[in-house]
């Protein structure tokens, strides 16, 4: 098999991947960047080049801030392959990917997984109905195509939810209501971490400002709720929420759900990287050292793909990982690694200081992470309900692998991405064990579904 060879292969062209690529290129490493999207920027700076020409001010400053990074990336000598689907990562540091239905493979001295985050599943009753989408989807539609929905209801918690709502309001798109699921107790819990906020007030003030402007705009803002579900037979008819022990009904046709983001696990796990349960973020994170080195030799993980810290932190973590990979490749000295990583570490620590506050404030309530109603679908692909999962646990199922066998939960094309976290937490709860013990699905190739023809064509590249 002929595979192209690079010093460094980077998977993902978001802030972490791009920052790493640009820095590695400056130090004369040969770099290949593989990204699924058709343009660089990841999810946070999605379609930023396209929007640069428009006067879409409502996208906000934090979005526009990403532009210089993309420009640096475009100017670099980095080998950039867009629309590339990475479907296998082997221990031999070989990456198999396909572009336009044709497979390729490449070998890297070092590999950086910078695949970012995905939205946390929001398994409430009715979340599979037509007309229910994630708030991230609303933002993609807006950023990439300028497509919006009038009179939608936004449900959930987290900075991204306020951001998209703020963008909608700034662009003059009417919103039917925001149903804020932030648990009341979170405000108190977050206060304990307010010291860290002082180190990065800009970040927090921006969040407050969004929220304040949302409330000021006169949009119906519903908070302090204890439960939520979506009604409809085929598509959404209404959202119901429970406020002060009373169920209330809100008619609508479109719902956008959001309750934070979690690391994209499949790529790192398929490379064999170790993971740990992060109780504060209520998700799995990939174990990395201060330089982003994972438990697998030659494989680093940076940015939200290892643990959630946002776009600015991702850029720093990408740069730091790049320096470490350059050191591993003997392109810079140990001393250089230390000195050069200092400014990035400084900026990173400022970003990290505010995380305990943000994580505590926006940690979704357990009732929205693990479904309450037996009829709620947990695995969207295989249509597996909570009741079916409970039944299997009753028969003696002890973990995600057996659950998969018994119910097909997690066996569909999304490969567990939309049920894995719920399954960990459901098993932990039902079996009265820790999440760490409950575990996660074993990573199986491919990382993304791949056609038989793509598989077969690998030799001919």
């Amino acid at each position: 098999m002929n595979s192209a060879k690079y010093d460094i292969i980077i998977i993902g062209a978001g802030p972490a991947g791009i920052s790493a690529a640009v820095l590695a290129d400056q130090h004369k490493a040969s770099v290949l960047v593989l990204d699924e999207n058709c343009a660089p920027g990841g999810q946070i700076y999605r379609a930023i080049e396209k929007n640069q020409k428009s006067d879409n001010e409502w996208l906000g400053q934090s979005y526009q801030d990403g532009l210089p990074l993309i420009e640096d990336f475009r100017r670099s000598r980095v080998n950039y392959q867009h629309s590339a689907k990475v479907w296998h990562l082997s221990g031999a540091k070989a990456v198999h990917y396909s572009v336009n239905g044709k497979s390729h493979s490449a070998k890297g001295g070092q590999i950086l997984v910078a695949t970012g985050a995905q939205e946390r599943p929001f398994p409430v009753l009715g979340w599979t109905l037509n007309g229910v989408m994630s708030a991230g989807a609303a933002q993609i539609l807006l950023k990439e195509s300028g497509v919006v929905y009038e009179d939608a209801v936004f449900v959930g918690t987290g900075p991204l939810l306020y951001l998209i709502v703020h963008q909608y309001i700034s662009a003059g798109i009417p919103i039917k209501a925001i149903i804020d699921t932030t648990p009341r107790g979170n405000y108190l819990r977050a206060l304990r971490h307010s010291f860290g906020v002082l180190k990065n007030t800009k970040n927090i003030f921006q969040g407050w400002r969004w929220k304040w402007e949302i409330i000021k705009s006169g949009t119906l803002y519903i908070s302090n709720i204890s439960d939520v579900r979506i009604n409809g037979s085929d598509s959404v008819a209404s959202v119901e929420y429970c406020q002060r022990s009373k169920w209330k009904n809100l008619n609508c046709k479109q719902v956008f759900l959001h309750q934070g983001v979690t690391p994209e696990l499949n790529t790192s796990l398929s490379a064999g990287c170790d993971k740990s349960w992060d109780a504060r973020q209520a998700c799995w994170t990939i174990d990395v050292d201060q330089y982003g080195q994972s438990s697998v030799d030659g494989i680093s993980v940076a940015g939200d793909a290892s643990s959630i810290a946002g776009g600015v932190a991702a850029a720093q973590r990408g740069s730091i990982a790049a320096l470490n990979m350059l050191y591993n490749l003997e392109l810079i000295s140990r001393g250089d690694r230390k000195v050069l990583s200092k400014p990035f570490k400084k900026k990173l620590s400022k970003e990290m200081a505010v995380r305990p506050f943000i994580d505590s404030l926006f940690k979704p309530h357990v009732r929205y992470r693990t479904p309450q109603d037996n009829e709620t679908i947990v695995c969207r692909c295989e249509e597996v309900t909570l009741a079916q999962i409970k039944e299997s646990i009753g028969v003696g199922c002890k973990g995600p692998s057996q659950l998969k066998s018994f119910t097909r939960c997690g066996m569909g094309p999304c490969q567990g991405r939309l049920c894995g976290l719920s399954v960990t937490e459901i098993l932990a709860k039902e079996l009265e064990i820790r999440e760490e013990q409950a575990g996660y699905y074993n990573a199986r190739p491919p990382i993304k579904p791949v056609t038989l023809a793509e598989l077969a064509s690998l030799d001919e590249t």
Binding site: Q43, S54, G136, G146, Y149, S235, R380, G412, K448
Partner: protein, 98 residues
Amino acid sequence: MFKSINSNQGELITIYFEGKTLNVPKDYNVATALLWAGVCDFRETTLNNMKRGPYCMMGVCFDCLININGMDNQQSCTIQVSDGMKIKRQVINSSGKK
């Protein structure tokens, strides 16, 4: 209804959904184009015949699967529209195998 906030959507091309002609912006992906044209019902699930449409729009959830040019299971949020594309609601019925 989904709509565009851009006054100028650029060049339009023709695609067909269930035989119906739709003129959609050239740089949209298939999922966006259909949503914009008022289509939110993309497929039926295999086991319980539930109606589904796009959920994540970023290639993660695989709920936007649809039949494009005769091929099932096309991830419509990751595929650009192209002129003359024939799109059909996806119905993969396992009941035929009994």
